[in-house]
């Protein structure tokens, strides 16, 4: 589904990856500063690779050779940023609603979906709060909800559970997995928490100084 | 260089007098090395107001008797220094190349879209113009066309830049600018006599020099210059 072969210069090393993903969740881990966030930003269209190609399904998102660079909003990629990026001038409800497209009314079936999603993320009582009045973990859950509600064709999650305790994770995770399987969304997930990585399958991708390796849990390369 | 020990004469000069007075001041400075003359020009009304409020002028050369009287009443003027040896005529001017007009009523014609006159409350030339137009019953008809200048020279500029089609100024102004010419001389009987009272002010710190300068204006050489500039001089 996702095919990615890109290069990008970073201050200390170069990001150089080449991989192909089928419709499943793939976990990326690796040391701090390895280039994980940079990779997701390239796929989302927030950064531009120096060379290579990115294809999602039969759409070319980026191609240096063909001069293609699909604008961010046409990529339909749900992206939970490492720093959440909630809209500070919108309530939690408006942040979530934003993902449902333009000028959605209360009658939109999405509204019901919104409430059930909020319910399962444990943020239903916070719908009318502003983002700055939330705790760290609460903000993170709103960011997850927002990405899920847009029903994306690809999901990019950058340490989406880093601010959550294990109890909360065990409530939020099933929802994420459910959306992924129900909608068949290929997913890239950055995490450094082994328990979480394990829940998404046997193999992980490991990034080190801009290079991606396939490996089993425990760290030995495949 | 030696400005420190120079006596600075600050004078408020009605704008219509400014071009000539400026030249006479240069001459005077050339002959009196210890005197420096600074000229503030504007409408006589505005100058009178500044003097009332305490501006430190040594001399006031007014284009209207009313303005001088106001200062006299407030006891700001050395009364014995007042001299009135100049007068002027009121004229209608048009940009160069335009036809002359036969009477003031012609100003009602549509080709005169805008007419410049002095702001009657502060500019004596405007006051005289208003008196004349009121006397022959044209003031109300022409009012929508007026662009009020802040001094009579301002009116002249409006006409010479052709942003208005006609203006009412002094004959001396009309003569000083070759982009305009006189279209009509206004009958003197229609307004108060135009006289230029000049005087030394009470607050002057250099009253002797100020009086001396006034005298030099009134000297034959001074009068000669004024006459050349189309002022009327009482000999």
């Amino acid at each position: 589904m996702l095919k990615c072969q890109i290069g990008k210069r970073l201050p200390d090393f170069s990001l150089e990856v080449e991989f192909e993903l089928e419709r499943t969740v793939h976990v990326i881990s690796g040391p701090s500063g390895a280039g994980k966030t940079t990779l997701l930003e390239c796929i989302a269209g927030i950064q531009t690779p120096d060379e290579g190609e990115i294809r999602l399904g039969n759409k070319t998102l980026f191609s240096k050779e063909q001069g293609v660079n699909v604008p961010i909003h046409k990529r339909r990629i749900g992206y939970v940023l490492q720093e959440y990026a909630l809209f500070p001038h919108m309530s939690v409800r408006q942040n979530l609603l934003f993902a449902r497209g333009i000028w959605r009314s209360q009658k939109d079936p999405g509204v019901q979906l919104l409430e059930s999603t909020a319910e399962r993320l444990g943020i239903l009582p916070l719908l009318n709060r502003m983002p700055r009045d939330l705790s760290g973990g609460e903000q993170q859950r709103v960011a997850i909800g927002r990405a899920l509600l847009m029903e994306p064709e690809l999901l990019l999650l950058d340490e989406p559970f880093s601010a959550l305790d294990s109890d909360t994770v065990s409530k939020v995770l099933p929802l994420v997995q459910e959306v992924i399987t129900n909608l068949n969304i290929p997913t890239l997930l950055i995490t450094h928490q082994d328990e979480i990585a394990r829940m998404f399958g046997p193999a992980i991708l490991r990034m080190e100084r801009g290079k991606l390796f396939s490996c089993k849990h425990g760290g030995e390369m495949v | 260089e030696q400005q420190e020990n120079k006596k600075v004469l600050l004078m408020g000069v009605a704008s219509s007098l400014e071009p000539v007075v400026k030249r006479l001041a240069w001459n005077y400075e050339a002959e009196h090395r210890d005197v420096k003359i600074q000229i503030t020009s504007g409408s006589s009304g505005a100058l009178a107001r500044q003097i009332e409020q305490g501006a430190a002028f040594d001399l006031f050369l007014s284009a209207g008797e009313k303005e001088m009287e106001e200062l006299v009443n407030k006891n700001l003027v050395e009364q014995d220094s007042i001299t009135k040896f100049l007068s002027n005529r009121l004229v209608v001017i048009v940009p160069e190349g335009r036809p002359i007009i036969k009477d003031l009523g012609t100003l009602k014609n549509p080709e005169f879209k805008r007419i410049g006159i002095g702001e009657p409350t502060t500019v004596p030339a405007g006051r005289y113009a208003k008196q004349a137009l009121e006397k022959i019953g044209l003031w109300a008809d022409l009012q929508p066309k007026f662009v009020f200048g802040n001094s009579v020279r301002n009116v002249l500029t409006h006409v010479s830049s052709e942003n208005v089609e006609a203006g009412i100024v002094y004959r001396s102004d009309a003569v000083s600018d070759d982009k305009v010419h006189v279209a009509l001389e206004i009958d003197e009987k229609l307004h108060d006599p135009i006289r230029y009272p000049m005087a030394v002010l009470k607050d002057s710190k250099h009253a002797t020099e100020a009086r001396d300068f006034l005298k030099s204006l009134e000297s034959p050489a001074g009068k000669e210059k004024f006459a050349k500039a189309a002022f009327q001089v009482q000999r």
């Binding site: 333009i102 | 409408s43 409006h158 830049s161 052709e162």
Partner: protein, 225 residues
């Protein structure tokens, strides 16, 4: 008595309307474009801010006057800007433009780029992102720009005097009326203008401040204690 007040509000209102839209669009365009002489253009837009208004007024008069490069053309269509109501609006607008341009620019620059990118990645196109994310986040800059513009337009004197002259009922706004009245020593009139304008301005400023505070309070803040 009320004429200059009413006229001033009309002139300042119209000028603000024009400048708010133009200033915003220009600022946005300048933020995104990659012109070769961008910095020069930027300085040009800001010029009327630093140039004394009497000079701006003189340049406008020369430009739009009957013999000026643009004025001559306009005159052939029967449009005459100098000494007209339009002239007063143009003088106020030109003098106030840089304030809006600069404030709007600062407003746009203050918007976290990450939020705009987040918006786009949620499927919002350029326009929707602009309207729903950029604009509201840049709002403080805009509002202060609009306030500055209106204030500047309301008080405009030098350029108006030059370009539009001092014509009661047509171009004689309050600053000009006060100038004339003070010069003429008509103290009751001056007192009246000063009184009404002081009250009006005070109320205006007060309301704007109130509203601005209400706006910014909305975004809340963890540390408001």
């Amino acid at each position: 008595m009320w004429t200059p007040v009413w006229l001033s509000l009309q002139v300042a209102g119209l000028a603000t309307l024009i400048v708010a839209v133009l200033g915003m669009l220009t600022a946005r365009w300048m933020q995104q474009t990659r012109l070769p002489f961008k910095e020069l253009l930027d300085s040009l837009f800001l010029l009327p801010m630093v140039l004394p208004p009497t000079i701006t007024g003189f340049l406008l008069l020369w430009f739009l006057g009957k013999k000026g490069p643009v004025g001559e053309m306009l005159a052939s269509f029967g449009i005459e800007i100098p000494f007209s109501f339009a002239g007063a609006v143009i003088a106020a607008a030109v003098v106030a433009f840089p304030l809006m341009y600069q404030s709007a620019g600062a407003g746009f620059a203050a918007v976290d780029r990450k939020l705009e990118l987040a918006s786009m990645s949620l499927g919002a196109g350029r326009i929707r992102t602009f309207v729903q994310v950029t604009l509201p986040l840049a709002l403080p800059g805009f509002l202060s720009g609009i306030v500055l513009t209106f204030a500047r337009a309301l008080g405009e004197f030098g350029a108006t005097l030059m370009l539009a002259g001092n014509i009661p009922g047509v171009t004689q706004t309050i600053p000009l009326a006060v100038f004339t009245a003070v010069e003429a020593g008509q103290m009751e009139e001056v007192t009246w203008f000063v009184g009404i304008m002081t009250v009006l301005s005070f109320v205006l400023v007060f309301l704007i401040k109130r509203w601005g505070r209400a706006q910014s309070a909305k975004q809340g803040g963890r540390l408001r204690a």
